[in-house]
Amino acid sequence: MGWLRRLFQKPLTEKRLDSELRFHLEQRVRDYVASGMNPEEARRRANLAFGGLEQVKQDCREARKESHVEDFLRDLQYALRSLAKDRRFALIAIFALALGIGATTVMFSVIYNVVFDPFPYRDFQHSVVFEMRDLASTGGKGEGARDHYTIPEFLAIRQQNHVFEDIVGNYQLNVLYSDGKGTRRFLGGYTTANGFDFLGVPPILGRVFSPEDVKQDAPLVFMMNYRLWQTEFNGDLKILGKAFFLNGKSRTLVGIMPQRFNGYGSSLWFPLGFYPRDLLARGHAEWHRDPQRRLAG
């Protein structure tokens, strides 16, 4: 433990080194004087013989350090030699270590992702989905409970809200994508214009929806998730602003969400205005999940 003490008591060791060497010098001067030299000359001769106090000090420090390095190398050599001597033990030890480290890493990343940081969304612990039930069924989910709402219901809830900071609505639909060569089907979702600000995740490319996008005569736009961008479009960086035929209409891509973003469970998103004539006309729009954020405080 000597090195530990030295590590913390450096000033003391330095002081001791200094006084040990000074003691030596003084002894020499004393001996010179005793042999009949005058003190001035004795001091000069002693200093000369000593050959640089600082240099000697430095060499002493080096000597100490050197032996630490030597010790360490010796220990290392010994460890390697004993490992090489007993191959089976070495293999088992390495295997056990690898297993332990691997298991811990997996465990930690799973726990971190599931328990500590399950969703990359802002303030998600304060979000709720609400459910409507009748008085007879107060238990679990089932008969008499629903978390889907018609547009008029949703608008009423939103209008009369004075508890929640913000309310978003969304619903999923199949999206048919035609690129001239063929047609493919993706899972898409309509989400209210505030849907992305609500989750607080910035896009990796482009922008999220704004209130402008849901005005009556606004140009049709959409966003897509990372996976769709990678698998269908090879992560094309110049894809923003291009128009795609989706469900028979031309829509412009305005943004791409990052890898971990899985909001509203869709591959691509359309902005949802409150009076899209076609939705109201068909009158079957249902509201899948309505995460609400509580007013802070």
């Binding site: 000597g2 001791r16 006084s19 040990e20 060497l21 003691f23 030596h24 002894q27 020499r28 001996d31 013989a49 000593f50 050959g51 640089g52 240099q55 000697v56 060499d59 002493c60 420090r61 080096e62 000597a63 100490r64 050197e66 032996s67 630490h68």
Partner: protein
């Protein structure tokens, strides 16, 4: 001449220090004086070699040091041999004996 003396010292200084310290607690200056006296002024141990060697030996556990008062009432660092140091000394002395015998044998061979 001075140069030759130090050269010789390099390999054997540790052993000489251990031997001198083996007589009893002694401080650095006295070690250098003692070596010089016993060798009848043949060896002059420069401080620049003596103290690094002392620190190295102490660090390796061959010497231990204690701060004590000298007969003149000053604090000085006194070195003593540890058990490991004693063992090391007898080993080095045996080695040295064999080495010098071998060298003597070769040098005394008639041409």
């Amino acid at each position: 001449m001075e140069q030759e003396k130090t050269e010789l010292l390099k390999g054997t200084l540790d052993m000489l220090i251990l031997k001198v310290v083996a007589f009893g607690p002694i401080h650095g200056y006295a070690i250098s004086q003692r070596i010089q006296q016993i060798s009848r002024d043949f060896f002059q141990v420069p401080e620049g070699s003596l103290y690094p060697a002392l620190y190295r030996l102490e660090d390796r556990g061959l010497l231990q040091a204690k701060w004590e008062e000298t007969e003149t009432g000053r604090e000085a660092k006194f070195y003593t041999l540890t058990r490991a140091g004693r063992k090391r000394l007898s080993m080095e002395m045996a080695n040295w004996g064999r080495l010098s015998e071998a060298v003597a044998l070769i040098l005394s061979t008639a041409e």
